[in-house]
């Protein structure tokens, strides 16, 4: 009986744990705290945080419990991440939630979304310079797109062993957008520029909103066919929303489908961040590059807005360039916040949504391009 008891004890988490498990459990608890107490992206950080706890419970290998064991439940749920199924489903829900009218009213602001995607490619170069292989560098670079599903989709295709640290880095920095962006925005703009007020956008007709997802999908996927899974679902979701006749499907896409996939994605990505995979010098490099990616993307968007102003009669507020970082809608809210700090009556949120949304399209195109070059 003593032998049995000792055998049982040797299979408990207490016996199997080492210091790295406790570090990861602490990180998981911090994520949950940030999500619940600080309201930093709770829909992402709470599932990811709890997933980190799930993935770092020390278990005996071979019992089919761990996420990397073939016959485990978590492994089957994780297949939606590794096969690239979950991110397009999330884009379906995002498309069904998104109102493209601000972008349709002022299409020129889309170029700010394009400029911000330079953060992807500059970070890609930085990762190569640090010695990462091209597939890893591309997966790290896509963090600069500030789009969680896109980052997970591309990493699953190119460097699945890095999904954990890249997803955690991407979502962490998305949650920290209100901390990362404002200093860069203030550094690159003058007070006079921050005070620029935008013209009222024109009214967008229902027909435009219905035709846009069809034209947008055809145009973007003809230019970058590798972006088909993500952009196809994004524009399909938007068409369901705008056509009105399929409101039931749009409702399902933006509620039950989106919420279910978010839960499964967050939980399994968190669970994939096991200590032996996550606590490596490589992960430190990924986190540093991820922060750089966000900073470079913000700076690229703001600088491009200033360049555009050299040629425009009616100036645009260069703060809008920061909204090209496609952390929807947080970066648009940051633009509003920084603008209002200078002029409380300057309402930039609505205008910032245009580059914000085009950034989502741009990051999906960027991911498609990297996948087609390196995949």
């Amino acid at each position: 009986m003593v032998q049995l008891f000792l055998e049982f004890l040797s299979n408990t988490g207490f016996a199997l744990a080492d210091y790295r498990h406790f570090i990861m459990i602490l990180i998981g608890i911090i994520f949950i705290y940030l999500g619940i107490a600080k309201h930093y992206e709770p829909l992402l950080l709470v599932p990811i945080g709890f997933g980190i706890l799930v993935g770092n419970i020390p278990v005996f290998k071979g019992l089919g419990l761990g996420i990397y064991e073939d016959n485990s439940v978590l492994h089957y749920l994780y297949m939606g991440v590794t096969s690239g199924v979950y991110p397009p489903l999330i884009f379906l829900g995002i498309g069904a939630l998104t109102d493209f009218s601000t972008m349709l009213a002022r299409p020129m602001l889309m170029l700010l979304g394009a400029a911000a995607q330079m953060g992807i490619f500059l970070t890609f170069l930085g990762a190569l310079a640090l010695g990462f292989a091209p597939n890893e560098a591309a997966s790290i670079g896509i963090i600069g797109g500030a789009d969680g599903p896109t980052a997970i989709f591309l990493t699953a295709k190119l460097a699945p062993h890095l999904i954990g640290p890249i997803a955690v880095a991407a979502y962490s920095y998305m949650a920290l957008v209100p901390v990362i962006q404002p200093p860069i925005m203030k550094l690159l703009t003058s007070r006079k520029e921050r005070l620029i007020r935008m013209e009222e956008p024109r009214e967008v007709s229902k027909k435009e909103k219905i035709i846009f997802p069809i034209i947008g999908f055809l145009l973007c996927c003809f230019v970058a066919p590798a972006a088909l899974p993500l952009l196809g679902m994004l524009f399909f979701g938007n068409l369901l929303k705008e056509c009105v006749v399929a409101e039931r499907l749009a409702q399902a896409a933006r509620t039950s489908v989106l919420d279910t996939v978010t839960i499964l994605l967050g939980l399994t990505v968190g669970a994939s961040t096991q200590a032996d995979v996550f606590l490596t010098p490589q992960s430190v490099g990924i986190f540093i590059l991820g922060a750089t990616a966000f900073g470079v993307a913000t700076a690229s968007g703001v600088i491009f807005a200033k360049i555009m102003n050299m040629f425009l009669k009616t100036k645009i507020n260069p703060l809008l360039g920061a909204a090209g970082v496609s952390a929807v809608p947080d970066s648009a809210r940051v633009v509003q916040m920084v603008g209002q700090a200078e002029d409380p009556n300057n309402f930039l949120l609505m205008h910032a949504m245009a580059p914000n949304i085009s950034g989502v399209i741009g990051s999906a195109i960027g991911a498609g391009v990297l996948w087609s070059f390196i995949g």
Binding site: F121, K207, I365, L370
Partner: protein, 136 residues
């Protein structure tokens, strides 16, 4: 390998440049298309108005001294043709009372009304010296 060597070895510069170009191209094309979309929809929804405007522009683009051809019923055109024959006999410029007199003598119907119509439609115009000329 690290640094610029690793970038060059893996074609990093080319991939980055082409990647940025493709992203910009895609979004620029989308931007240009969207910018025209509402104009195309406006033309499509109001195509009758645009066609009528185009026809009106064609009509008003005739020379300044040209008289627009009257759109009249066939009987009216026949009456005008008869008055034209009288005007030709009188030679230009002619006296309007004389034209009226001959029209009454021949027995043409409603001579006063017809001559008034010819004046309103500028088929007969004054030469500024008390006489009138028949325009083509």
């Amino acid at each position: 390998m690290y640094g610029l060597e690793n970038i060059s070895a893996h074609n990093g510069w080319a991939i980055s440049f082409v990647g940025v170009t493709i992203v910009f191209t895609g979004l620029t094309l989308l931007c240009l298309t969207i910018a025209q979309l509402h104009k195309i929809l406006d033309i499509w929804e109001n195509k009758d108005k645009y066609i009528n405007n185009r026809n009106h522009k064609t009509l008003t683009s005739t020379p300044a001294n040209a008289v627009p051809k009257p759109c009249m019923p066939v009987e009216e055109l026949e009456t005008i043709r008869q008055y034209k024959m009288i005007a030709d006999r009188l030679e230009q410029p002619f006296s309007l009372p004389k034209l009226l007199d001959i029209a009454v003598k021949i027995g043409l119907e409603r001579p006063h009304s017809t001559i008034n119509t010819l004046l309103v439609k500028k088929i007969i115009i004054s030469d500024g010296k008390g006489y009138f000329i028949w325009t083509s």
